[in-house]
Structure formats: structure tokens, C-alpha cells
């Protein structure tokens, strides 16, 4: 099977390049497996074209493969041959079953966690001064209105949280309010879960639409209290 050594090595090298080297080129990203598969198929096509260009190279390339398949003179490789002839139809059957059988899994949830806010809620700055008094007031409002779900420790584990899916945000987690601007929080608190765009799945959200119950000033104070209590800072323009 010497004629296959070089093509196999070439395929392995190309795979390793695509999987581990290309993603590290500046500006690049990990390649999806479907794309890697496509490139490998192209490589195989190129190898076959190259190997069968002349009469001699054709025989040198296909000869060992043919002999393996027909079982002629392959000695110890007989077991491998039988294994291949049995496994190939099994693999085909397995893949076919997988793509045609009815799935038991519920629909995949592809909810966008932080969908884009409407234009009028970008770029707002907090009109309330960041004073200890205002922070205290904000924390007081937080305790009254927000802590049942978001928790007294700002961790999303309030006493009322457990039945809700998606669960209330954990403000002490660095991927929540620490990644957002105050303007974004103002939108989310004021307009609530029902204010989300479709990719945010508003029908599932338990977040109240606080504009019905709280004046804007209280919401801005809650934002101050929330960042302070969760020991986080808002994301800034830079």
C-alpha cells in the first residue's frame, strides 16, 4: 500500500493545518467542521486527478487499492478487508437512520442573551449622580423590587427565581451587567421582557416591565445600586 502513504500524509497535514494553524492567523477564527470536510474532499479529488493522469501512475495508485478490495494476495490484511466490507454498510445504515429518524429532542433554544436595544435606548447616560446617598436609595429599591428574583446577593438566586426559565440574571457574573452599558440596563428594566425583540424570546421572559410601576429616576438609581452591590462596573464607550 506504499502508493497511498503520500496521499494519506498529505490529507493528515492539511487537516492539521485547517484545524490548528489557520485559526491562529490574525483575523481568522476556528473553521466549522463542515468547511474542513469540504476542503478535505477537494484535496482527495485533487489527489485522485493527479494520481490518475498517466497510465503508469494510475496503475501504481489504484493497484494496491484494487488488490485490497478483491482480497488478492494481501495475507494478514484479510481481517482488515472483512472489517471494512462489514463496517461500511453498517456506517451507511447508521448515518441514514440518524438523518431520517424522528428525533426525541425538543426544539433547540437559540435565544440571543443580549439583543440589540432600540435606537432611543443607546447612548443614554445616567442622570443620577453617583453619590453614596443615591446608591443607598438604589439598593433600597433593588431590595424591594428586584431581590425576590435577582437575589439579595445580586446572584440571580432570589427566593422567587427557581421556577423561571430563562432564570433571572446573575449580576455578580462577569458576563452580565459588567459587559453592558447603563443605557442598556435602563432599556431592559424599563421595557421588561416583553420589550425584547424576537431573537430575545420575549414570550419566555419573567422580567417585569417596570415603566408601568416605577419612575425613570428610580430605575436609574436601581442601576447605581445594582452595580455597586454586585461589585461590577458598567462597560464604557471605550
Amino acid at each position: 500500500m506504499g502508493s497511498l502513504t503520500k496521499p494519506v500524509i498529505l490529507l493528515v497535514v492539511i487537516y492539521l493545518l485547517l484545524k490548528f494553524v489557520v485559526p491562529n492567523i490574525p483575523g481568522s477564527a476556528p473553521l466549522p467542521s463542515s468547511l474542513i470536510f469540504l476542503y478535505l474532499m477537494l484535496t482527495i479529488a485533487g489527489i485522485v486527478i493527479f494520481a490518475t493522469m498517466s497510465g503508469e501512475s494510475k496503475d501504481a495508485f489504484w493497484g494496491p487499492i484494487q488488490r485490497f478490495l478483491t482480497g488478492e494476495n494481501i495475507g494478514a490484511l484479510q481481517t482488515a478487508r472483512f472489517a471494512l466490507l462489514i463496517l461500511f454498510p453498517l456506517l451507511v445504515g447508521w448515518e441514514t437512520y440518524g438523518s431520517t429518524a424522528v428525533s426525541d429532542a425538543p426544539p433547540a433554544e437559540n435565544r440571543t442573551i443580549h439583543p440589540a436595544p432600540p435606537g432611543e435606548y443607546t447612548g443614554l447616560s445616567n442622570p443620577v449622580a453617583k453619590t453614596p446617598d443615591n446608591i443607598m436609595q438604589g439598593k433600597g429599591f433593588y431590595a424591594a423590587f428586584c431581590s425576590p428574583c435577582h437575589g439579595g446577593s445580586f446572584d440571580g438566586k432570589g427566593p422567587a427565581a427557581r421556577g423561571f426559565n430563562p432564570p433571572p440574571a446573575n449580576f455578580s457574573d462577569p458576563t452580565t451587567i459588567a459587559m453592558l452599558q447603563e443605557s442598556y440596563l435602563f432599556w431592559r428594566i424599563k421595557k421588561g421582557g416583553v420589550g425584547l425583540p424576537i431573537e430575545g424570546m420575549p414570550w419566555k421572559s419573567a422580567m417585569p416591565r417596570w415603566e408601568v410601576e416605577l419612575p425613570d429616576e428610580w430605575i436609574w438609581k436601581i442601576i447605581l445600586g445594582e452595580y455597586d452591590g454586585a461589585h461590577q462596573s458598567p462597560r464604557t464607550w471605550e
Binding site: Q66, R67, L69, T70, E72, T79, L85, F88, P89, L90, V92, G93, W94, E95, T96, Y97, T100, A101, V102, P106, P107, P148, C149, P159, A160, A161, R162, G163, F164, N165, P166, K191, G193, V194, G195, L196, P197, I198, P202, W203, K204, S205, A206, M207, P208, E213
Partner: protein, 276 residues
Amino acid sequence: MTRVMQRHIKESAIAVAAVALLVTGAAQGFAQESVAVRAVMTTNALPVDDPNAAAWNTAPQAQFPLSPQVHWQNRIQEVTVKDLKVRALNDGKQVAVLLEYADPTEDPADAAALEFMVGDKKAHFAHGQPMAQVEGGPVNIWFWRNKDGKGVDMSAMGFGTLKTQTHQDVTAKGAYSNGTWKVVFSRNLTTDHPAEDMQLKPGEFINIAFAVWDGRKDAAGDLVEKGSQKAVSSWWYFRAEAPPDYSGYLYAALAMGLALAFQFVLIRKLKKGQSA
């Protein structure tokens, strides 16, 4: 096959079996956190009147956590029922859903409800309240209260719009024993009013949400949980299973046959070519 090969095969078979046992054992432990209710198909009569029927044991149990309703006014900060167990059966014509939950006392105002979206539109779990950027549809609510002893078919599309439907299709029956309520809701899979009633197609996942009221009274004699003051859940999934579909096996067998035939033809052709 040589001795060595036989031993290798035996060893790998044992390893695979061990891993399989481990995984199924772990899966049992995770059964508490469900995302979907499976209404398994049965050829027997559905136990629509009997929450205690043995037939329920053939249906897998899903469990969902409940929250006190703190999403909209009037809120309640603490409720009696914290978890809900759900089983369901269907016979191709009707569906029956069994709710089971712990409630220390049996009260006339004890109540439970199922909620569904209607038609193609999404609906917010809070009675289909309007959403700012998504056009929502109504919800269909199946309500049961102990003192009424029957199922009530209801509709809502926003706060304060809950109403009893003019046509009633839902039946419900509750049974209380030893601090546990068991309530069966049942209805035909489809009804004549698709604009107001959820229509269930076997094999299709739909959304379901739950609400429970403990009808206990406080020291002053007032109901603690009533109206919007209840235990609620978020949207989860529900599916009425269709009769088993073996078409996947059929396609697989066909594909395997084709692969085998391909192998035969290819090798025969190659052999002919070699001897030529």
C-alpha cells in the same frame, strides 16, 4: 479469529457495557429537571376520570419548579406549591394530563391550570400579555378548581382579559389524599375552534405552562392565593407521541442494502478486470 482477537473483543464489550450502565445511571439522577412532557401513546382507555389509575404509571414523569407570581401585579412573594409532577397519555384522539403536587390541606379553593399558546403566534406566559416588538397571540387555559369539580376552557390575551369560552371542551377531575393533589385534565387533540383552542398534532412539540393555587385562608379568613397571586411556571414543552414510526429503520435498511450491492458490484468488476 485468533484467541488474542477474541479476548480483545470481549474486553471492549465489557468496557462498553460498563460505560452504558454509568451513563443510564447518571441520566436517572437528572430526571428531576425536565424540559418536556411526553404524552405517550396508549391503546387502552385513557383514565380521564381517575387520577389514581394504574395506567398513569406507564407514562414517564416530568418535574417542573414553580415560582411565586412576582412578574406582574398583584404579586405574591411566597406560595405553597414549589414543584409540580406531570404525566400525560394520548390515544390518538384524546389527550390526558395528570398534575401531581404536595398541598398540606384540602381546600375548596384549591385550583390548578394548564396554559397553551394558540395557533402559530407566540404568546407571553403571563396570559398572553402584549409584547412590544413581537405580535403575540392568545393563550388557551384549562382551569380546574376543587369546589367546581370540573374543567373550564378559558382564553386570555393580556392582563384582565381572562374569560370563559362559550364552547367547553375540557374535562378535569381532582383527587386529594395524604397531602397530595392529583388532577387529570383531558380534551380531544383537536377541536372545532382553532382560533381559541390549542390544537394538538401528534409528534409536534408545543409550549405548556402551569399554575397552581393553594386555597388556604389566612388568620383573618381571607384567601392567600387567588387570581394573579399563585404559583406559576415558565413555558416548557409538551408533545403527544405519535404511533411509533419505523421509517428510520426502513431507510437505514434500504441504504445498507444499497451499500452492500455497491460493494458486490465493485469487487466483482475489479476481479474481472484483474483476471482479464
